[in-house]
């Protein structure tokens, strides 16, 4: 009686299951309540569900493929962005390291950056010195050099003169790398600081 009622439940869905199937089903799967609706599905020859099942499985496969492709492309785009940023960070780091070791920025002591030289380079009268400094670098990267003491009391900014100041606007995307340096403020005082190279987005290639 319980099996018959479950088949009848299914017949409400399909609308075409003949009532005599319930007797066969209950005889074949005695006492297995959960298997009974499925046995009805297997024996249903009206072909109502079959085409829809094909379409559903195909739709599932297509959706799965689209999700897979979307995930792959998202992963690849993320990787591209990160490797692009990393590559430019490496360039900024390389520039910062080579500048921190440049004898041009030093005076008497080979291990210390000279505040006097930095004053000359960042000042309005240091155009020739800046040209000489930036002549070594290719025009591919738009960058400026910032040197500051750790206590924040002193700060120098060296920008190339032949670049449009629009490149260095605050809202422009940039990547920066810093290296630690020691700055000689005067023969009696040296303080720790950082030399930072900031690459600006218009120069990214």
């Amino acid at each position: 009686m319980r099996a018959s009622s479950s088949i009848n439940d299914f017949s409400l869905v399909s609308g075409k299951v003949p009532g005599n199937i319930s007797g066969n089903v209950s005889g074949k799967f005695p006492g297995k309540l959960s298997g009974k609706p499925f046995s009805g599905l297997f024996r249903d020859e009206s072909g109502v569900l079959e085409p829809q099942a094909d379409l559903l499985s195909t739709a599932l496969a297509v959706i799965g493929f689209v999700v897979f492709a979307a995930l792959l492309s998202q992963g690849y785009l993320g990787y591209e962005d990160r490797s692009f940023a990393l590559e430019h960070y490496e360039s900024a780091s390389l520039l910062a390291e080579s500048l921190a070791g440049a004898p041009f920025l030093r005076a008497g002591n080979p291990d210390l950056l000279s505040a006097e030289v930095l004053d000359g380079l960042s000042g309005s009268g240091g155009e020739t010195e800046r040209e000489r400094l930036f002549a070594t670098f290719s025009g591919n990267y738009v960058f400026l050099i910032e040197v500051r003491t750790l206590d924040g009391k002193w700060e120098w900014e060296i920008m190339p003169d032949d670049r449009d100041p629009v490149f260095f606007l605050e809202e422009t995307d940039r990547i920066a790398a810093s290296v630690p340096v020691v700055i000689e403020l005067n023969p009696a005082e040296s303080v720790p600081g950082t030399l930072t190279v900031v690459l600006y987005q218009p120069g990214w290639v």
Partner: protein, 210 residues
């Protein structure tokens, strides 16, 4: 008469409950969808092959750029240096499917590798961080002598200002020069000296030639 026959056939189709049309349409749709799905899968596979080749080429170009930049990062030391770069020494180049079919070009601004994978052109371009010139020292000195009347060496410094020199060098190095990836490439740091009044100062540039 014809209308009647048609009407009769149409009624027969409408009253036919054997679902053959449903069956055929759904199977045709299934075959079509499967074909599209498989085509998309194969296309994805082909795309990945091309992508992988591009990444391989990119890695080779990045390695060469790193070698050039490494020579350049030492360029504040007042001494010349030379480095021989072998493409075959780089594992990714040897393992890649495009070995011996790669064209390499160097200009004053960038390094470019180009090859073909499955009929498609794949390129990798890397910019240099330091000033690069795609010719040897003799050609550099000749170009400087022609333009400024001095070779730019320590004994014969250039009399002009920096901006004029850098503009001339950028123009001289703008053209691409092809390099043979089967042979070693020389990466050499050279100094160009400029006389400002009584003071002589110099800046480095990197020469890439074979």
């Amino acid at each position: 008469m014809t209308f009647r026959v048609r009407g009769h056939s149409l009624r027969k189709i409408l009253e036919d409950e054997s679902a053959w049309a449903d069956f055929l349409i759904s199977k045709a749709a299934l075959i079509l969808a499967s074909a599209v799905l498989f085509a998309a899968l194969f296309q994805l596979g082909a795309g990945f092959r091309s992508l992988e080749a591009g990444e391989g080429l990119d890695a080779v170009a990045r390695d060469f750029k790193a070698a050039v930049d490494e020579v350049g990062s030492e360029n504040f030391r007042e001494e010349s240096s030379e480095f021989l770069y072998h493409f075959e020494g780089f594992d990714r180049f040897q393992a890649s499917p495009f070995e011996r079919e790669v064209d390499a070009y160097v200009s004053g601004e960038y390094f470019r590798l180009e090859t073909e994978i499955d009929g498609k052109t794949v390129r990798a371009i890397k910019p240099f961080a330091f000033r690069v010139l795609p010719f040897n020292e003799t050609a550099l000195r000749v170009k400087l002598l022609e333009r400024f009347g001095a070779e730019g060496s320590g004994e014969d410094p250039l009399p002009a200002d920096y901006s004029e020199i850098t503009k001339h060098l950028s123009a001289a190095g703008a053209g691409e020069k092809e390099r043979d990836v089967a042979k070693a490439v020389s990466i050499k740091k050279e100094f160009i000296y400029v006389k400002e009044g009584e003071e002589v100062s110099g800046f480095a540039c990197i020469l890439i030639y074979q």
